[in-house]
């Protein structure tokens, strides 16, 4: 693994390679993308959204975005926590009705990831009614919205890799 950079690890960008050096010309983008990842997935004080919930939401967003490699990283976090049920729920992309709190959070993730224009006041009020505070709601929304950032950085860098190899 090249340092602790998730994206370089996924793409197999070797330390010292031209693409790794290029990315280091924007050191703050690297540092704060990793920082956001840490604060969103495994914050010291997770409020009412546990680390398992967070990894499940990220897994769901990555699957909705069609990025299997990124999804595998979030799945690994859940496997490390022995959270098999969370994996099952997050990976069930069928429209089958799902009961419970995590299922409701996953449905929120679906809307934010794929159809954010469809979020309404009722959507947010339903989260509040589940006991989520404004802080929890912002954290969940930030998390689900951060995965699409990662997906597009990975896709763009992959194209640059391909370009360099040709």
């Amino acid at each position: 693994m090249s340092g602790d950079d998730l994206i370089e690890d996924i793409l197999g960008i070797a330390p010292g390679s031209p693409l790794a050096e290029l990315r280091r010309r924007r050191p703050e983008a690297l540092r704060h993308a990793q920082g956001a990842y840490r604060e969103l997935l495994m914050p010291e004080d997770p409020g009412n959204v546990s680390h398992v919930d967070r990894a499940a939401l990220a897994l769901r967003a990555a699957l909705r975005e069609g990025d299997e490699a990124l999804a595998a990283r979030f799945r690994a976090l859940l496997e490390a926590a022995s959270a098999q049920e969370a994996i099952m729920l997050a990976e069930d992309l069928s429209d089958a009705p799902m009961e419970g709190r995590l299922a409701a959070l996953l449905r929120y993730a679906d809307v934010v990831a794929a159809r954010p224009e469809d979020v309404t006041q009722d959507t947010i009020d339903a989260l509040t009614a589940m006991g989520l505070t404004p802080r929890d709601i912002v954290a969940v929304t930030q998390l689900v919205s951060f995965v699409p950032y990662q997906v597009r950085v990975i896709a763009g860098l992959r194209a640059m890799q391909e370009e360099a190899a040709s």
Partner: protein, 189 residues
């Protein structure tokens, strides 16, 4: 008639923003990491409800949009306006279209894209930026080296391409936050 505009669009949050007077030290510190012109906006005060994510994400946004050298700022603003149109975020489109118009001194070019879409864009550099921005936004998994060729053809070097990728990715994030946590309120007709 397009729903996109360069005029001031309002934004109404769906959860209460932090009040400047009662903000915690952690919330104030997180706001300090955000672009100075925006740190007292309703949007950033709403994000400040979760200071840990705002601090890192605000700093990321800051460097993506304002880091020196590389892709000119006008190009970053143009790209993020196109991404915001693609995602249907009326508020973000208005802000970044306005910034592009100010930086480029070409408000009429921006207005045309807002009204008719970027297929009408005839400037080769802006057209290349717009096409790439839309594709990476809509279908990231379909983007290949061939999609970079038009950017190279208008003279973009590696750092500029990286900056463009970062700008586009940042607005996959920003548009979703803005659309989920609140509602764009169009200017009064």
């Amino acid at each position: 008639m397009s729903r996109f505009t360069m005029e001031e669009v309002g934004w109404t949050p769906r959860i209460p923003p932090v009040e400047a007077e009662t903000a915690t030290p952690a919330q104030l510190a997180a706001l300090e990491a955000c672009p100075p012109a925006q740190r007292r906006s309703t949007y950033f005060l709403t994000l400040a409800q979760d200071p840990a994510s705002l601090g890192e994400r605000g700093a990321l946004f800051n460097t993506v949009m304002y880091a020196p050298r590389g892709l000119p700022r006008a190009d970053r603003e143009f790209s993020t306006a196109i991404v915001s149109m693609t995602n249907g975020c009326v508020y973000c489109t208005s802000v970044h279209a306005r910034r592009f118009a100010d930086l480029s001194k070409q408000p009429e070019a921006m207005q045309r894209v807002l009204d008719e879409g970027h297929a009408v864009e005839s400037d080769p550099r802006r057209r290349a930026i717009a096409d790439f921005s839309e594709k990476l936004t809509r279908t990231p998994d379909a983007v290949t080296a061939a999609d970079l060729a038009p950017l190279r053809a208008v003279g973009m070097d590696d750092l500029q391409v990286l900056d463009l990728i970062h700008s586009i990715a940042m607005f996959a994030n920003a548009n979703r936050l803005m659309q989920s946590l609140g509602e764009s309120t169009p200017p009064a007709a």
